[in-house]
């Protein structure tokens, strides 16, 4: 696993300080930088959990047709053109004409032209070879298929039954609402006297029972507020729907795939056969383009272009343009191997530093800070201590206070020290820095070697500066009996030049750094040999 740095958005809790990184709720408060927005008005990070979302347009992900919002509702958020999903594999279906009955050459021709063919058209899945003729869905014309299918949907038993239920309840509701004041008082629970409530409830409860046993011709007004509901006669009774055949079908099942998966039938509210061979194609659900606003100041943070084909944004205030990007890496494996050549037998298996975080080891890492701003910034880093024992510098183990020790200690440049990161500039402005890179590598390697030697501070600090990137070295010292993963919260604050030329402004945010999982010790010699 590569080490990650996630950024905090404090929207989930009232506390601006994030929870400890090992708490389960921590993972919901940190996000990758590219998912975050930045509200200039509030000067705050916003995440997908706290922005308010508005729909700026609907489109079909398959045909990229922009659906006018007026028809979205009638089409039930699904594409009303020719886009269908295979019920078995969710692939997009294509419209295929039937084979011409007589001539072979005819088929070749129609195949080339695509839409011209014999009248019964059907839908065909190119992936799993499902075709809609199996379920008796064929079309006269190759276009406007959704409209042709719509007829089936409108006459679906569930919607018909639903309308009937509505008609069944409406007169009853009207009757019970139009007569009598008791209901009016019920609508104000806060002001009702409990005794009255109870009494009226007791009274009201008895009335329908009385009515029940003295069936009288319909005179709703006389019957009091809670008239008895007349018997509902279902359009289709469940008793007619062959559940026993389902039992027999499942009993004799040969292949699991003969039964439709739950996810293929759970949106259907009507009793349907279980067989997967009875599944019907469904229209492709629409997607929406979303405008996101800051939920506190209502300013737009992101606004896509209207056209479905366009992937650009009219407004785009993403956090990546404001906060320094951070990426963390362990020095490349050959360097690590060089460094630890003498003491480590298993070095060949270690492809990267991250896969080999052995308990009891000391590992340097590099934190690259990238400045997106056009002005230079100064960054200060502060790792939130697990438990800060200052004496825990010597990696020699076996000390009595083992239990008190934190599982690992992270060493970063001192919180007071400011790390300068140069301003972002367009690529062509960096030409002069070209030769800098070559020299840097050597320097880096040397410094690694010295840093690995165990002395504090050698590998820690700025180890590389180029363009708008500054690489900072850090080190993690893992306790001998440590377990779990190395995750720590890090407070990052940076100062940038503001509009006011005299004072710089500062912005502070939290991150969580996940370096990977500690490999528990299995009797290996201490890696950090002095």
């Amino acid at each position: 696993m590569t080490p990650t740095v996630l950024y905090h958005c404090p929207c989930l809790s009232s506390d601006p300080i994030p929870p400890p990184p090992n708490a389960p709720s921590s993972s919901y408060q940190f996000h990758p930088l590219h998912e975050l927005f930045f509200c200039e008005e509030c000067d705050a990070v916003r995440c997908n959990r706290c922005v308010s979302v508005e729909v700026s347009g609907y489109y079909c992900p398959n045909c990229l047709f922009e659906v006018p919002s007026a028809s979205v509702r009638a089409e039930k958020n699904r594409c009303a053109r020719n886009c269908f999903m295979c019920p078995c594999c969710r692939n997009t279906l294509s419209v295929v004409p039937s084979d011409p009955s007589d001539a072979d050459d005819g088929r070749l021709l129609t195949g080339g032209l695509g839409v011209v063919g014999e009248p019964p058209f059907f839908l065909y899945c190119n992936y799993c070879r499902w075709d809609s003729a199996e379920v008796d869905v064929t079309f006269e014309k190759p276009t406007g298929l959704a409209a042709q299918l719509q007829r089936f949907e409108d006459s679906a038993p569930d919607s018909l039954e639903f309308e009937r239920l509505k008609e069944h309840f409406e007169p009853f509701l009207r009757a019970s609402s139009s007569s009598g004041h008791p209901q009016a008082t019920h609508s104000h629970p806060a002001h009702i006297n409990p005794i009255t409530a109870a009494a009226s409830s007791a009274l009201a409860r008895d009335i329908p029972g009385v009515v029940k046993y003295t069936p009288a011709p319909r005179g709703r007004r006389d019957k009091g507020p809670r008239d008895e509901l007349s018997e509902y006669r279902s359009r289709v009774e469940v008793a007619g729907t062959k559940d026993t055949s389902n039992v027999d079908f499942v009993r004799r099942l040969e292949e699991v795939s003969q039964v439709a998966a739950l996810s293929q039938r759970w949106t259907s509210s009507w009793t349907t056969p279980l067989r997967s061979s009875d599944l019907r194609p469904s229209r492709i659900p629409l997607r929406s383009k979303k405008t996101k606003r800051c939920s506190t100041c209502r300013h737009i943070l992101i606004k896509p272009e209207q056209k479905a084909q366009s992937v650009r944004f009219k407004i785009k205030l993403v956090a990546a343009n404001y906060l320094p990007a951070m990426s963390i890496a362990f020095p490349s494996p050959d360097l690590a191997r060089q460094r630890a050549a003498g003491s480590r037998q298993t070095a060949a298996e270690d492809t990267s530093g991250a896969s080999g975080l052995q308990a009891g080891g000391t590992y340097p890492f590099q934190l690259a800070l990238t400045n997106p701003l056009y002005d230079p910034i100064k960054v200060r880093l502060k790792a939130e201590p697990q438990v800060p024992p200052p004496s825990f510098t010597a990696p020699a183990g076996g000390s009595p206070e083992k239990a008190k020790r934190p599982p690992f200690v992270v060493r970063l440049p001192r919180p007071e020290s400011e790390i300068p990161v140069a301003a972002f500039a367009e690529a062509w402005e960096y030409e002069d820095d070209e030769d800098m890179f070559g020299g840097d590598d050597d320097e880096l390697g040397l410094e690694r070697e010295r840093g690995g030697g165990g002395g504090k501070g050698k590998g820690i600090g700025v180890i590389e500066r180029r363009a708008n990137v500054t690489v900072v070295g850090g080190e993690v010292v893992i306790g001998r009996d440590a377990k779990g993963s190395i995750k720590f919260n890090m407070l990052v604050s940076y100062t940038y030049r503001s509009d006011d030329p005299l004072a710089d402004e500062e912005f502070t945010f939290y991150t969580v750094v996940d370096l990977g999982v500690i490999i528990p010790r299995v009797g290996v010699e201490s890696i950090t040999s002095d």
């Binding site: 929870p19 308010s52 979302v53 009207r174 009226s200 026993t244 009993r251 759970w266």
Partner: protein, 600 residues
């Protein structure tokens, strides 16, 4: 309502709901079913211009495992999705841990709600009123989390909480009935009379989907067969599968695999009434338990409630162990050799009577056997497919009655004059009830539990049939009701007897049990009714929630007064529904009720 968008709508509904006419608004029906002291929805005449009419509400049926979301006025949910189990029957006793759990729950609920609005429904929450379908035992803290997220994060204009059982009843065109919801965590029977849920007659049992899953897992571990993937392709041809088949490793039986087995392969076989006496099914160590059986038809409601909470406490333990659920919750893993023997006998019996085919399911092999080629094969014996669900019908346990017993216990608590009506209008809903054959079997079990009262079968050897005056014959008083029993949505009802009520069986529309509550919610939304509506202003006025620990405060507060009580809940009603008692309920009872709801 579809009046705005021009969908199919009857002219009548167009006129009666046109918001322009004040008369139409006055005609807006008030609460059909909300509890006596709950608010009925009140509709403003103003209508904002938006894609859907403002009166189209969002109906969300959030389960602990499966959520259904959609627009009111439609016959089916727009989207259904599974979530990682959100809550369970226990809460951590440690307050710090509990706070942390709540934070995680809030974050996950928020993610799911946002996804429901933005990805499934593609609508803006700001203009959409929301109906949340709530299980009567949905913990209050979960409701608070929903309300907090919807009001503060999504800024919906109002929320109504509507009882899932009642809505399910609406979806079959009734307002009176005994609704059994067999869901994931619990099976809950709730009688509803004239659209009033009789919450205090509610009965519940933890025998439901989650328990069935762990039971299936235990059965498969013992009796299933796993064929690891062949080590090489040539081996696949040469080796007979029997030579390499093993017991099922636990890793293979992931939740997804079990869900697949449960939803695609399992069904409920007919009752093995003759072959399988109750003595075989239930282990012998339950004799002492029967002594504890309270005479539930005469017990005062206080003790009943404390029993509900005790039930929930006691089932906290056994659920953690896989073996303990194999046959009875009392069995400890330490005694498993004897139990295994017993199970083997049970398995043999089931095997003899099962004609279901064995199934081969391709599964991902465990990490240790990844070396092979392709996927392993899990062989599911046919009898497990057929008889795994026997667990749900095995009664005799005081704390965890079978589903049939739960219904009957509920009937025992119902006032005598309602029993016949409710017994003849039983409705079965919930995802677990989707198992083919579940409902007909439940009917058989109901009758069987009454006719051969199971608790009378142990110690004193009484001739089967009709024992004379057995001391623990719990359901004797229900015996005259036998011809009246009818399950409304029984797909294969027994031939109707001459009793009037039994003609109800199978008369319900053919909505699936799992979506009934949602369909009812959609109907309630279309009819402008639904549970008590909480507008956002009210929430804002109350200043949201005190962050946590509000449970303790509610107990001394009179409902509806304190800011924490913005969210209506039946446990917060000042009086039980029904005749007013002479005195206000004693505080310990309220506490018990609350505990029962919170599941603490």
């Amino acid at each position: 309502m579809s009046a705005l968008a021009g969908g199919p709508s009857t002219p009548r509904s167009r006129t009666s709901f046109a918001p322009a006419t004040p008369a139409g608004v006055a005609n807006v029906p008030r609460s059909v079913h909300s509890g006596t002291v709950q608010a009925s929805p009140h509709y403003q005449t103003s209508r904002r211009h938006s894609l859907y009419g403002t009166e189209d509400r969002i109906v969300i049926d959030p389960g602990s495992r499966i959520w259904k979301v959609g627009f009111s006025g439609e016959g089916r949910p727009r989207d259904v999705f599974a979530v990682h189990p959100l809550w369970c029957l226990q809460r951590s006793p440690d307050p710090i841990q509990r706070d942390e759990d709540d934070r995680v729950l809030a974050a996950r609920v928020q993610a799911h709600l946002r996804a429901a609005f933005h990805d499934s429904l593609l609508t803006e929450p700001k203009s959409r009123k929301v109906i949340i379908i709530e299980h009567p035992l949905l913990p209050v803290y979960v409701k608070d989390i929903f309300a907090k997220t919807l009001f503060e994060n999504l800024q919906v204009p109002s929320i109504s909480f509507a009882s899932s059982h009642l809505l399910a009843l609406l979806s079959v065109g009734r307002i009176t009935g005994l609704v059994l919801d067999c869901g994931e965590l619990e099976s809950t029977a709730l009688p509803i009379f004239s659209s009033r849920p009789l919450f205090h007659q509610l009965r519940t049992t933890p025998l439901a989907g989650a328990r069935l899953t762990s039971h299936l897992r235990a059965l498969l571990l013992l009796f299933g067969t796993f064929v690891p993937p062949p080590t090489s392709l040539s081996a696949a041809v040469n080796m007979p599968t029997s030579s390499c088949s093993t017991r099922v490793p636990l890793e293979v039986l992931s939740d997804a695999v079990l869900e697949e087995i449960k939803t695609r392969c399992s069904f409920v076989g007919e009752s093995l009434d003759g072959a399988l006496g109750p003595g075989i099914v239930s282990p012998s160590d339950e004799d002492p338990m029967d002594l504890d059986l309270p005479p539930s038809d005469t017990a005062p409601s206080e003790s009943e409630f404390s029993r509900v909470s005790a039930d929930r406490d006691s089932n906290a333990g056994p659920t953690s162990s896989d073996f303990s659920v194999v046959s009875q919750a009392q069995i400890l893993p330490g005694r498993s050799s004897r139990d295994e023997h017993q199970l083997q006998a049970l398995a043999n019996l089931y095997m003899r009577h099962s004609t279901a085919t064995n199934l081969h399911l391709k599964v991902t092999p465990p990490a240790s056997q990844q070396a092979g080629t392709g996927q392993g094969t899990l062989i599911i014996p046919g009898w497990i497919r057929e008889r795994g669900s026997e667990l749900l019908f095995e009664g005799g346990d005081v704390d965890e009655g079978s589903i049939a017993e739960t219904i009957l216990d509920c009937l025992l608590k119902i006032p005598v004059d309602l029993r016949k009506t409710l017994a003849s209008s039983i409705l079965v809903t919930g995802g677990t009830a989707m198992l083919p054959g579940f409902i007909p079997r439940l009917h058989v079990e109901l009758i069987r539990a009454i006719v051969t009262s199971p608790s009378s079968s142990p110690r004193p050897p009484i001739a089967p049939g009709r024992p004379r005056p057995p001391p623990y014959d719990r359901y004797a008083v229900l015996r005259p009701l036998v011809p009246h029993f009818a399950i409304l949505n029984n797909p294969s009802p027994p031939p109707p007897s001459n009793a009037r009520g039994s003609a109800n069986a199978g008369k319900a529309p053919a909505f699936t049990p799992a979506t009934m509550a949602w369909v009812g919610g959609s109907l309630a939304g279309a009819l402008k009714t639904g549970g008590a509506e909480v507008p956002r202003e009210k929430w804002d006025e109350a200043g949201g929630l005190p962050d946590s620990g509000d449970d303790a405060m509610e107990e001394d507060d009179v409902a509806g007064r304190s800011p924490a009580n913005v969210i209506p809940d039946w446990t917060r009603t000042p009086l039980p529904v029904g005749a007013p008692p002479a005195n206000p309920p004693p505080p310990q009872m309220r506490e018990a009720t609350l505990l029962a709801v919170v599941g603490a």
